[in-house]
């Protein structure tokens, strides 16, 4: 099966998965109900009051949550794929340059300083961005291997914000704030609202779209800086653009759903095993695969257990066996 068909098949699966996710839940619906409530067709004998409730459930609860899973899954996978290619390293994930540590700190600080969710979201985003900017500036300040310096700066910045997060946790009120911070950082979409997704979805699509549109250049970056430059690529400008786009979407994933680990590390590997390492094909494929994966895991988190399990815990627990199988099956396009 050619890669185009695989991508198309995956896109269909994602649409089917999203539709199925709309009708399953504590209040199960039929496909006919779904069409009716979304105004696609009319159905006889429905109670208008009941219908209003179901409509609210669908549009205000299920749909934002499904879109969140899809956008966050796609964002993390595309950033992870781009980072693995850019840093020519299979162990790299979107948090490499400190964006997740910074955003975690930002979220915690926001929760301490304000009770308004908007402030928390703004602080999450701002500190995610700030962490990466610090890492970029640090790497610039030294001479030597650019990639190595970026990785080292990322490690340092991550460590710094992790320590600062501990400070916040230590200072937080242990009865209200500390549990709130801890649960939030475990990740999950139960708090996602339609308003949040209305703002975040276009931004995440813009960021992932930017990365995907630069995929031809990304292949050349994996040949090393000098070769890429000799092939006509403005390496530093390109890498900065890619890092900023990946940082934008990664920090937004924390704004939407807290820390959701492993998706950005394993999905690129699984995608590479299925369609190969060519980023022009791999990046869109990873986006679809990550979206589908997170959608499925989110359904498990809200349906399988009587109490909702935080998504970040599930992605880690499920991600490890998936990764083990992926490693067993092949090197996945790495040499």
């Amino acid at each position: 099966m050619s890669v185009q068909y695989r991508t198309a098949a995956l896109a269909l699966l994602l649409v089917a998965g999203a539709t199925a996710s709309m009708i399953v839940g504590r209040y199960p619906l039929s496909l006919a109900d779904l069409g009716h409530h979304l105004g696609l067709w009319a159905m006889e004998g429905t109670d208008p009051k009941q219908a209003e409730l179901v409509r609210t459930l669908l549009l205000e609860v299920r749909l934002p949550r499904i879109l969140a899973a899809i956008c966050v899954g796609a964002s993390l996978s595309v950033s992870g794929t781009a980072f693995q290619a850019m840093f020519i390293n299979p162990l790299v994930s979107p948090g490499l340059l400190g964006v997740l540590a910074g955003a975690s700190f930002g979220a915690a600080a926001g929760m301490i300083l304000s009770t308004r969710w908007l402030v928390v979201q703004a602080s999450t985003f701002a500190f995610g961005l700030l962490a990466v900017c610090i890492a970029l500036a640090m790497a610039r300040a030294y001479r030597g291997d650019r990639l190595l310096l970026l990785v080292l700066s990322g490690v340092v910045v991550s460590a710094m914000f992790t320590a600062l997060l501990s400070v916040i946790k230590y200072l937080a009120d242990p009865y209200n704030q500390l549990p709130a911070i801890t649960y939030w950082l475990m990740g999950g979409f139960s708090l996602v609202t339609r308003e949040t997704m209305t703002v975040m979805m276009p931004l995440m699509l813009l960021g992932t779209g930017t990365i995907i549109s630069l995929s031809g250049y990304l292949n050349v970056l994996t040949m090393g800086d000098e070769e890429a430059r000799a092939l006509g690529v403005r390496v530093t400008a390109l890498r900065t653009a890619l890092i900023l786009a990946a940082t934008l979407v990664s920090s937004l994933t924390v704004v939407v759903g807290g820390i959701i680990g492993w998706v950005g590390l394993i999905i690129p590997h699984v995608g590479r095993m299925i369609v190969g390492p060519d980023n022009r094909i791999l990046l869109p494929f990873s986006a679809l695969l990550g979206a589908l994966y997170l959608l499925l895991v989110d359904n498990i988190s809200r349906l399988v257990f009587p109490v909702e399990i935080p998504l970040g815990i599930l992605t880690s627990l499920l991600g490890i066996p998936v990764f083990a199988v992926a490693l067993r099956l092949g090197r996945g396009g790495w040499n």
């Binding site: 050349v220 040949m223 092939l231």
Partner: protein
């Protein structure tokens, strides 16, 4: 008609790092169709010079012009269309197909998002065909032989549209047959008007096919000219700090023989050999 035009003009290049000077006022002109071999011991500044010619390193002072235009005034894409880099035999992290590696050469001709077109693919296929490796188009770059990889990189250089190719140790790590195969292609391309500047560790390669040899030592050019003019026992011995003889093998052909080694070659059955066996 343009045979006299200089493809590369490097003038008084000085280059170095904080404590070490690597190149101390190197000037060089390369004309169209020349195959220039840059010889010199490790650390003589060969690779730095190549990278300065490619615009990858900036000299401390001095200028480089490619096709009559100063390198620092050219955008990376313009530069890539004029001069191509064929790096040392390397492994790449991802197993791209050969045709996709060659297609990377078309990025210099693409728009903002680096999309390649059907026409670009046709040009890449033609380059593979030109180097007789069309059959490898769909093979994984990581799984072909070293010689084939080097030819793939040369095909990529042709795909860039560059008429000047700069090669860093193009034969390093290749077996003898592959070395000959790559040299054959370089010679044939040069006869079509392509210009080559390459470094080599093997003086014999320069004797076989270079039209010009530049000897570099301690950041200075110590000799520059046709192979028969500049390559002799004296210059090579001083360059490599070994006793090297150039021996004529008839038909005006010569080859290098390292006397230092040949004189000490053990003779089977001699004393040294026996003592080894006894041990």
């Amino acid at each position: 008609m343009e045979l006299t035009m200089d493809k590369i003009v490097a003038d008084s290049i000085v280059f170095g790092y904080s404590r070490k000077t690597v190149l101390q006022g190197v000037s060089l002109k390369v004309g169209q169709g020349e195959v220039l071999s840059l010889l010199g011991p490790n650390g003589s500044g060969k690779t730095s010079l190549l990278k300065i010619l490619l615009g990858l390193l900036r000299p401390l002072s001095g200028t480089v012009a490619i096709d009559g235009r100063p390198v620092d005034s050219m955008s990376p894409k313009e530069l890539a269309k004029s001069v191509a880099y064929v790096p040392q035999l390397h492994r790449i992290a991802f197993s791209y197909r050969v045709i996709d590696v060659v297609l990377m050469g078309r990025l210099a001709h693409s728009g903002l998002f680096g999309r390649t077109t059907r026409e670009d693919e046709r040009i890449a296929e033609a380059a593979l065909d030109r180097l007789d490796i069309s059959h490898l188009a769909d093979a994984a770059y990581s799984e072909i032989s070293g010689g084939e990889r080097q030819l793939t990189l040369i095909a990529r250089a042709l795909t860039q549209g560059a008429k000047t190719l700069i090669l860093d140790e193009p034969l390093n790590g290749l077996d003898y047959g592959n070395q000959i195969g790559v040299l054959e292609q370089i010679t044939s391309l040069a006869s079509e008007g392509f210009t080559f500047v390459k470094t080599t560790h093997f003086p014999d390669h320069a004797l076989w096919m270079a039209t010009r040899v530049v000897l570099l030592n301690h950041g200075h050019i110590i000799a520059d000219g046709k192979p028969h003019e500049v390559m002799n026992g004296r210059t090579l011995s001083s360059l490599y700090l070994a006793d090297i003889a150039l021996v004529s093998v008839g038909d005006g052909l010569r080859t290098c023989l390292p006397r230092t080694v040949l004189d000490k070659k053990p003779v089977p059955g001699s004393h040294a050999g026996r003592s080894l066996c006894a041990g």
